[in-house]
């Protein structure tokens, strides 16, 4: 695990890289990279394929999913088109990302979790990013959630927390559509019906 594996800048690998140890990528890889240690994708490096490791640090370009057992960090200058999945995710200012972000996996390593907290709380505020809420999403294992279809299911566990805002309107934990539309007309209608129905039944 201590041997530093280096792919130099002028190296191109078309194929699969796997094994134990750490990997420093300065060159170009077309294929899957799966390593038990940490991977550092340096500036100027490109990867076309998924990357799996304990910890991934990206400063180059990646077209593929990044999956970290501990952490995934996109440094400034990183360009990633693909999904990120790790217990703690860091996206530094200047990093470009297009993909799905999923946290909530194995218990995070304390140092990396502290570093990634600003990114997580910042991303938790906008409603669009459903991922960074750790507690409800922890129920779903990360590999199963990577499928694109589960994007629809991902907002569902998040809404129970967001429906705290909707408690005034009395809307139950259903889709976010009810948050946008005023739920008031629906509830009085139900109440009216039940009253009339109980009166009719009484007759």
């Amino acid at each position: 695990m201590s041997s530093p594996n280096i792919i130099s800048a002028s190296t191109t690998i078309i194929g699969r890289i796997s094994g134990e140890g750490d990997l420093e990528l300065h060159g170009h890889v077309e294929g899957e990279v799966s390593v038990s240690g940490s991977i550092a994708i340096a500036t100027g490096a490109t990867v076309k394929g998924s990357v799996e490791a304990a910890a991934i640090s990206v400063a180059g370009a990646v077209a593929g999913n990044l999956s970290g057992q501990e952490a995934v960090v996109l440094e400034s200058g990183a360009r990633v088109v693909g999904d990120l999945a790790a217990p703690s995710i860091g996206i530094r200012p200047g990093a470009l990302l297009r993909g799905h972000v999923e946290t909530g996996n194995a218990p995070p390593v304390p140092n990396r979790a502290a570093a990634a907290r600003p990114a997580m709380t910042r991303a938790a505020e906008p409603r669009r990013v459903a991922a960074p809420v750790a507690a409800p999403v922890a129920a779903k294992p990360a590999p199963a959630v990577r499928a694109s279809t589960t994007r629809k299911s991902a907002p569902e566990p998040v809404v129970p927390k967001a429906s705290g805002r909707a408690r005034k309107t009395g809307a139950s934990a259903s889709t976010s559509d009810k948050r946008r539309k005023p739920p008031a007309p629906v509830v009085p209608a139900l109440k009216k019906r039940t009253k009339k129905a109980s009166k009719r039944n009484a007759r």
Binding site: S3, N5, T11, I17
Partner: protein, 104 residues
């Protein structure tokens, strides 16, 4: 001019090409095409044809070796495949099975 180091724990299945030096200590299956020197360490296993400027084999190589400069088969090295190079050394203790072409 940094070297590409493929350590003992790493397996690469595919084509590797480089302009720098390549040191293989792990497993490489496929093709190796390098403009610089190639060294196969004693724990390295290469199941590929190697094309390089110079090749030093201390590990296990199965495949043809074409070098523009020289090929050195070190003690403890094992080569099963043909060699095409201008210069060739086979150390005592090395294992070699294949054809040698040093002419041209």
């Amino acid at each position: 001019m940094a070297a590409t180091v493929i350590g003992p724990g790493i397996t690469i299945e595919g084509e590797v090409s480089s302009n720098d030096e390549v040191v293989v200590g792990g497993v490489l299956r496929g093709k190796l095409d390098v403009a610089g020197p190639v060294t196969v360490d004693s724990g390295g296993v290469v199941e590929a044809d190697i094309g390089a400027r110079s090749v030093a084999i201390g590990g296990n190589v199965t495949g043809n070796v074409v070098a523009s400069d020289r090929v050195d088969l070190l003690a403890g090295g094992r080569l099963v495949g043909d060699v095409k190079a201008a210069r060739l050394t086979i150390a005592d203790g090395a294992v070699f099975k294949g054809n040698v072409d040093m002419d041209g």
